[in-house]
Amino acid sequence: MKTSPFRAVFNRRSTAMEKYLLAIIIGYIVIVALKNPLFFSVETLFDMLRSGSGVMILAIGVLIVLVSGGIDVSFTAIAVVSGYTSVKLMLALGIDNILFAFMVSIVVGCLLGAINALIIYRFNLPTLIVTLGTASAYHGLMATVLGTKSFPTGAMPQSLVNFGSTDLIVINSDTGRYGLTVFLPIVIAVLVLTWFILYRTMLGRQVFAVGSNEESASRLGINIFRTKLFVYAYSGALSGLMGIIYFSELKYVNPVSLVGTELMIIAAVVIGGAKLTGGEGTILGTILGIVVVQLFQSTLVFLGLGSSWNDLFFGAVLLISLGVMYYRQRIQDRKNLVFATA
């Protein structure tokens, strides 16, 4: 019996973490909807899709790094640096083209990611500390060389503003006009591409192998350096892509924003079931993790709680999820007489 490769996608079993997150999301939505029926509207959905697009792309980059057994905290810096470089270049050369913006930004992001990989591999250093260093170095370098002048809607390249306002579907209602953002197909493309790389190519298998056990992977003949180079360059390229989306969504170019939110995004991916020890993590889990964060960020208002409650809610959910995930692991390990902390 011949099975199509896509059969596996629909027949796959959800991980425990995915089910648990789905339960949280559904429960939360029911509570919010009971409290405030206004929540159930196409408008809310379109709004969340628009504001969540950039974060989703970054989260995919984080996921692939976590799967490879590392942790990257420089991706927000890379996003801002490559986006800002691209905008500066467009203004300097007078090229007002959205494709050019994406191209420059992605190339710069890719390069910065590759530098991360080089340092990590060459000196065999902990990824967290390296990327902590490169994040300040990249951002500081950008600020020193290019400055930190922000560009309001009028001063930034027109193509970026136009791109950010492009809608796929427009719905007019008595509350106003709102549309489905053009970012959505980009996000879907990124998700499909990453899924394909991770689960349908040798490269993806190698990323999982390196994350699970670098020593075994290298003995299998996997080129560790090439795999890591791909992982960090890909994550950098996604950050570059997100940089342009971010600026065109806000219609405001501010090179000192975004940096500082990286731990929040990593937390969202971790909630989705990716493990810091590498080799584990799913795209569906990552999507659910981001949905949880976005839900808290945009809907606590519907519950009558101010935005001050965001962090408290998210922190609590994060700790409880981590607790459930790792406590189960602990019990399992103790049963098998494994005492090592991974």
Binding site: I129, L132, G133, G140, L263, S308, A340
Partner: protein, 368 residues
């Protein structure tokens, strides 16, 4: 010559750090002269370094156990907010008669909050087995969240005027808070070098499974370590609040990167088991001198970021080469600061040899 090489090889990281600090100080003094060495600058340097010193020490303790504590700054801010709320007169109106008692209660509240934050981290790591980086990432967000809910993002001012005087008070021109930090370094240094608990912190970082099977209650070591971190964080909060005379969410966020920078600069191994309090002190001197020099030279904060980031990378690369450098005739290193490591390549063969040796097999047989 030989004896110098031996001395250097005893603790390579410390030697490198010592040279780096000396060179930096000489360069800064020649470049800036009186502006750097003035009593005013030295005094402001020593009071600035104090609050940060506690946080760096706390990060160092976490790294000795092969962990990391991302929550130190947000825990310090939360402790500061709790302390400041007590001293703000919002809970109990402040009168001339109760201001001293309230001040004490405020300080105690900050310290206890810090320790409770540490206890939560310790429990999550030791009893629930969440990796330290994730546990403290979660508590970092949680503590910030609690602080936000208490203050609504507003700053909490302190209504007791004598409290801010405490932050500025000096003994023989040395700020009291600086002396407090020196005392903390001495106590932690003594604890790590001379007590059973300190020894266990190092051993846990080296090999926690071996420590467990030596009959040590691992969980207790970790919980106690994180409670100590919490106490240091609480002290940092007390000083922070007295210097700024208020507390608010978001204060001192840049300290997290800098704390990691100092500790890595001091030669702490992020995988645990290596690092000395003396080196943290040296790292602090280096960082603070650069910090003041940047202020005197009026660098903007982004240039500072660039320099901190590049320094962090540079230090790790230098450490990488230093670890491979082995001067001829140097005695094998001793002590937890510089234990010799078996290179990963040779480890499997060494293990295989042990297995082949008849002694090992027979003892193994007897044990079973």
């Amino acid at each position: 010559m030989n004896s110098i090489a031996r001395l250097v090889a005893r603790d390579k990281n410390l030697s490198v750090l010592l040279v780096m600090t000396a060179v930096t100080l000489i360069v800064l003094i020649t470049l800036l002269g009186g502006r750097f060495l003035s009593a005013g600058n030295l005094q402001s340097m020593s009071s600035q370094v104090s609050e940060f010193g506690f946080l760096a020490l706390a990060m160092g303790l976490a790294m000795l156990t092969a962990g990391i504590d991302l929550s130190i700054v947000s825990a310090a801010v939360l402790s500061g907010i709790v302390g400041a709320t007590v001293m703000s007169g919002q809970l109990v109106p402040i009168t001339a008669s109760n201001s001293n008692t309230l001040m004490l209660v405020g300080i105690l509240a900050a310290l206890v909050t810090g320790m409770l934050c540490g206890l939560l981290n310790g429990l999550l790591i030791a009893k629930v087995s969440i990796p330290p980086i994730l546990a403290t990432l979660g508590t970092m967000i949680l503590f910030t969240g609690i602080g936000m809910v208490i203050t609504n993002g507003q700053s909490v001012p302190i209504a007791i005027s004598s409290y801010s005087a405490l932050g500025a008070a000096t003994v023989a021109n040395i700020p009291i808070i600086f002396l407090l930090m020196v005392a903390a370094f001495l106590v932690v240094g003594f604890m790590l070098r001379r007590t059973r608990f300190g020894r266990r912190i190092y051993l846990f970082g080296e090999n926690d499974v071996a420590l467990r099977f030596s009959g040590v209650r691992n969980d207790r070591v970790i919980i106690l370590t994180y409670v100590s971190i919490g106490l240091l964080v609480g002290l940092a909060a007390v000083i922070m609040v007295s210097r700024v005379n208020s507390a608010r969410v978001g204060f001192g966020e840049s300290y997290l990167l800098q704390a990691i920078l100092v500790v890595v600069l001091a030669g702490f191994n992020p995988y645990g088991g290596r690092g000395r309090v003396v080196s943290v002190a040296l790292g602090l001197i280096l960082l603070q001198s650069l910090q003041s020099a940047f202020t005197i030279l009026q660098f903007n904060p982004y240039v500072k970021n660039l320099i901190w980031g590049s320094m962090l990378l540079l230090v790790m690369v230098v450490n990488y080469y230093v670890a491979r450098w082995n001067p001829r005739g140097a005695a094998p290193a001793k002590g937890p600061g510089t234990t010799t490591v078996i290179p990963p390549e040779s480890a499997p063969s060494a293990a295989a040899e042990t297995h082949r040796s008849p002694d090992a097999v027979s003892t193994g047989g007897r044990a079973l």
